[in-house]
Amino acid sequence: MPPRTSDAIVIGGGLVGAAIAWGLRGQGLETVLLDEGDIAFRASRGNFGLVWVQSKGLGAPWYQRWTRGSAGEWPALAADLGARTGLDLALQQPGGAHLCLSEPEFEDRAARMARMQSEAGNHGFDYRMIRAKELREMLPGLGPSVVGASWTPYDGHVGPLALLQALHRAFTEAGGAYIPDARVTGGTAAPNDFRVETAAGAFAAPRIVLAAGLGNADLAPRFGLDAPVRPQRGQILVTERARTILPMPTTTVRQTGEGTIMLGDSMEEVGFDTRQAPPVMAQIAQRAVLSFPWIAELNIVRAWSALRVMAPDGLPIYDQSDRYPGAFIANCHSGVTLAGAHARLLAPMIVQGSLDPVLAPFSAKRFDVPHAA
């Protein structure tokens, strides 16, 4: 059977792939979005939902700028998706706090934020280190262990599952082809001429975008690209719904649009193991109770573990293949925060056929360290 042809193929129906596919479709490209089935390593179903800037890009100011840029694109993205689908993404960007539970944590955080600001140079980086006394006016019922927080105006949060559904729906309703159960089993590459075999048939296009998360590690070499990504497990707890009480998100505690309170999150190097671990869940609960003691009486109604997609330096990877122009790759562990950039900044670059120089530092070539003799 001849392959189904289109202007672009995006491999990966998670937040990264769906945002890019939606962006490509918005630019008029006939786009096919290939996804796996019901069970997959889906970071996009397991994330925390922050649109988060303040912790991103220490020592890598280009990442800080890219993240800030994405946060800036978010209101337009949410409004567009909301208008097209009727879904409420519950986007709020009131600024956000990173709570510090000890003096050393506070000092470390202050030093980190100062370095971020100095690295930002002329781009600026607004932040405040806030002491507990003032912080108590901003957040209800802080625990006595909280000594202060860093705060930036850029931070916010959104319903990540509503985002996933909205991207899929908007993409499909705009004429995009979302193909589930289409795990890639093979493919061939030539400059601006790509063909992939999947469980759901064959597809061909002059452009291909690899956005398969952890799957990119295996896919990339086929298309003259490199994605040395590894899984990092994160566990999250969610409480029952409560009436709105938290006016802004913090790094590890946020109240969703539905009223549930999400408690995050662990960073575990355990390979492809998505089991839950009660000791880690207990540590998450403990930090939440130290931060907000009143959370202790809330019921946890759900919890899960999922795998982040981590490059060796923790930063995203964006590349176009030198050998096979037209093959692009996008990998990151911040598919929510960066959705604005992926849909509205990255997708147009892919349509034009070249990545903007601002993305040059994200090339996987940064990992090509010459081997010492």
């Binding site: 029952e240 719904r241 009223g259 009486e297 809330l298």
Partner: protein, 98 residues
């Protein structure tokens, strides 16, 4: 719309349902006490506010969530009554209490 059968199981435990004393048999759950008190709805949904009563009484459906002795969102069918127990409707999402 429910009644005890004193000949089989005398109602000996007094609990308060929405502040009103109700006599229920020992071994009954808080959800049963709500039914004996004549309340059909035990909670209002946090999604649409619609009224709900117990469905399964065996811990599966979670439609009997109630506030028991001041603790919101308890599965009333899994909580045996005790003398003086205070049982109140769960109205929408609970309050978090700093």
């Amino acid at each position: 719309m429910f009644r005890t059968r004193p000949d089989a199981r005398p109602a000996t435990v007094e609990v308060l349902v929405e502040g009103t004393p109700v006599l229920v048999p020992e071994g009954a759950s808080a959800a049963v006490a709500v039914l004996l008190a004549g309340l059909s709805a035990i909670r209002e949904m946090p999604v649409t506010g619609s009224p709900r009563g117990p469905l399964c009484l065996m811990g599966v459906c979670f439609d009997c969530l109630a506030e028991i002795d001041g603790v919101p969102n308890r599965q009333a069918c899994m909580v045996p009554v005790a003398p003086g127990m205070r049982i109140a409707r769960q109205r929408g999402a609970r309050e978090a209490r700093p």
